[in-house]
């Protein structure tokens, strides 16, 4: 053990001899780790959070499609669906979008009702009158409207409507609430120009999760122009979207990754004359081949672990403290009023192991492999100068 510690000590001293070169490697290496880890942390965090948010969402949502377009659905459809066995309730949802020219943002308008359970009010209450609304953090911030303040929104008839803010929403990531304005269901239907007796879609509650697909099939049979969307489908879509986005991000940064691979390959394909000479000297003064390889392994481990730790810390600070400002333009949601992301610090240990395995192991191998050839050479080559 003492021997290994001394070789480690010598490896540290050896690395300190070339501080510029080694810190340059650590910087490139840590940056690569930070980029990969940031993308993975952020997408995983968003997916996890989305999954949690959708836990309270309706098991089944039914929309009507005409000509491939989503159109308002008759409330009467809900009365039929609620009669299906296992269905415990059907509630109409009134939601849509409005463009706010002042803030140049698209705002989601929603009638209070099902789905509100997943949203948390930070201040105030939900609207109870047609002139009241509750807003998400992004809307509140853009309008500078706290509880008691007012906002003006343009309705379906392009008329400006004044609302009093009676509550504000917030969730850890703001994914669902940031660009949201909640009104009473009646006012939302009116604001969005929904015809009498129609809703944007229907939220269906099913008693037994195993029955959801059956109910969805029955709805489709009863109403061929309907589109039943199960919660698991929404989650899968979310997952796929963020998988795709993270893949795209990694593709964008692949240049950096390739540069790192080239760096590692360069190390793997040969030693400098100076490094070869040093290995020869060590062998000549009594170091065994295994001692030399251990020295090189420690050098690789120290460099790669330092880089890995620095890269992971940088990624955690970037994603979980700063809210991933460098990645959100590509990864965050579809709204123009971008949610301010505050991803919950939640790191999958398997992900850490994977990042470590994909970076530390190749680098250490790239450090040790070329040394092996030099280390097995008889030291008399050094004696001959």
């Amino acid at each position: 053990m003492r021997r290994h510690l001394k070789i480690l000590d010598f490896a540290l001293a050896s690395l300190r001899r070339r501080p510029f070169k080694n810190w340059a490697i650590v910087a490139v290496y840590a940056f690569t780790v930070a980029v990969v880890a940031s993308v993975l942390f952020l997408t995983q965090s968003i997916r996890r959070e989305a999954a949690q948010l959708f836990v309270g969402a309706p098991e089944l949502t039914v929309q009507r499609m005409v000509g491939g377009r989503h159109v308002p659905i008759d409330l009467a459809v809900g009365e039929t669906i609620v009669a299906f066995p296992s269905v415990v309730g059907v509630e109409p949802r009134f939601w849509g979008y409005t463009y706010d020219a002042v803030t140049e943002s698209t705002i989601t308008v929603m009638g209070a009702g099902p789905g509100m359970a997943t949203l948390e009010l930070v201040k105030g209450r939900l609207p109870t009158h047609a002139t009241e609304c509750a807003v998400g953090a992004g809307v509140a911030s853009m309008w500078g409207a706290e509880v008691g303040g007012e906002i003006i929104l343009i309705d379906a008839a392009t008329t400006g409507v004044l609302y009093e803010v009676v509550g504000t929403f917030e969730s850890p990531s703001d994914i669902l609430t940031n660009d949201l304005v909640v009104m009473t269901a009646e006012e939302a239907a009116l604001f969005l120009g929904l015809p009498e007796g129609k809703a944007t879609d229907l939220a269906v509650r099913v008693a037994n999760d195993n029955e959801i697909d059956t109910i969805a099939a029955k709805v489709k049979r009863a109403y061929p122009d309907s589109r039943p969307i199960t919660r698991s489908e929404v989650l899968r879509t979310y997952d796929a979207v963020f998988h795709w986005r993270s893949g795209m991000m990694l593709a964008v940064f692949s240049g950096g990754l390739i540069a790192f691979v080239i760096l590692a390959w360069d190390k793997a394909t040969g030693l400098s004359a100076e490094e070869r000479r040093e290995i020869g000297i060590l062998k000549a003064v009594g170091w065994d081949t295994s001692d030399v390889l251990e020295l090189k392994m420690w050098e690789g481990v120290v460099i790669s672990l330092t880089s890995l730790i620095l890269g992971l810390i940088a990624a955690m600070i970037h994603v979980f403290i700063l809210g991933a400002p460098l990645l959100t333009p590509m990864l965050r949601g579809w709204s123009v009023l971008f949610p301010e992301l505050h991803p919950t610090p939640n790191v999958d240990p398997y992900m850490l192991i994977a990042i470590g395995f994909l970076t530390v192991v190749p680098y250490v191998a790239a450090t040790v492999a070329p040394s092996w050839k030099a280390a097995v050479t008889d030291p008399d080559a050094v004696v001959r100068g």
Partner: protein
């Protein structure tokens, strides 16, 4: 000069060394040499460049294996030992002073001297103690923390000797130690070797430098030509 005792420390029996065996550029560096090295003697292996003296030296010092023949260090037949065992004997028995000194210029004098001790089971205080003694014996205490690449040629040479001594070897092997030294440094080196020998260390020197060959510390000379010992004398 310390009188050599009778017990041979190293025995070389009909050793050959062929480089690039079977290749067009095959070189027969050593062609069947037999010799012994006795405890406490100063043996000079003399010969011109390319005569095979360095090859013989590296075989004696367990830095390379002979192509054929036997080498015994003490009672151990080392010619066919594993690399690990050979390294262990090299570390415990021999100290090397190379023609080019072969210091690591970025390391301090202390770390250069300490190099042979890192892969041993010695504690750090023991190592420090050994290094202190070796450095003191070469009078380079004042350069202990200086980088080896930034000290004078004489100090570098003494650092190299200190490194050769730090593992307290039974035999010091010096390959052309004065090849790049002026007269003053050569004399200093030979004085240092004389002190070592007086303390009981066996010394083997490969050289063609008359200043070494004719030095009074030399107890025996073996003249090598074309891979063979052609003459042996005891001054």
């Amino acid at each position: 000069m310390t009188a050599a005792t009778e017990s041979p420390l190293v025995r070389v029996e009909d050793v050959t060394k062929i480089y690039h065996l079977g290749a067009p550029d095959e070189v027969r560096a050593v062609r069947g040499i037999s010799m012994t090295v006795s405890r406490g003697e100063v043996l000079v292996i003399e010969g011109p460049s390319g005569s095979g003296k360095t090859s013989l030296l590296t075989i004696i010092g367990c830095m390379s294996r002979p192509t054929s023949g036997q080498v015994l260090v003490g009672d151990r037949r080392v010619s066919r030992l594993s690399e690990t065992a050979l390294t262990s004997i090299r570390r415990e028995t021999f100290g090397f002073i190379f023609q080019q000194l072969h210091l690591i210029p970025d390391l301090t004098v202390k770390d250069n001297v300490m190099l042979p001790l890192f892969p041993t089971g010695m504690t750090v205080p023991e190592m420090e103690d050994r290094v202190d003694r070796a450095i003191r014996s070469m009078s380079i205490e004042h350069r202990r923390t200086a980088r080896a690449g930034r000290i004078s040629g004489g100090e570098q040479q003494r650092t190299a000797i200190a490194r050769a001594l730090v593992n307290e070897p039974t035999i010091v092997i010096a390959d052309e130690p004065t090849a790049h030294l002026d007269s003053e440094l050569s004399a200093e080196l030979l004085e240092n070797l004389a002190v070592l020998n007086a303390a009981g260390t066996t010394i083997i020197i490969a050289t063609h430098d008359p200043r070494v060959i004719d030095h009074p510390i030399v107890s025996r000379r073996s003249v090598v030509r074309d891979g063979l010992i052609v003459d042996e004398t005891s001054p």
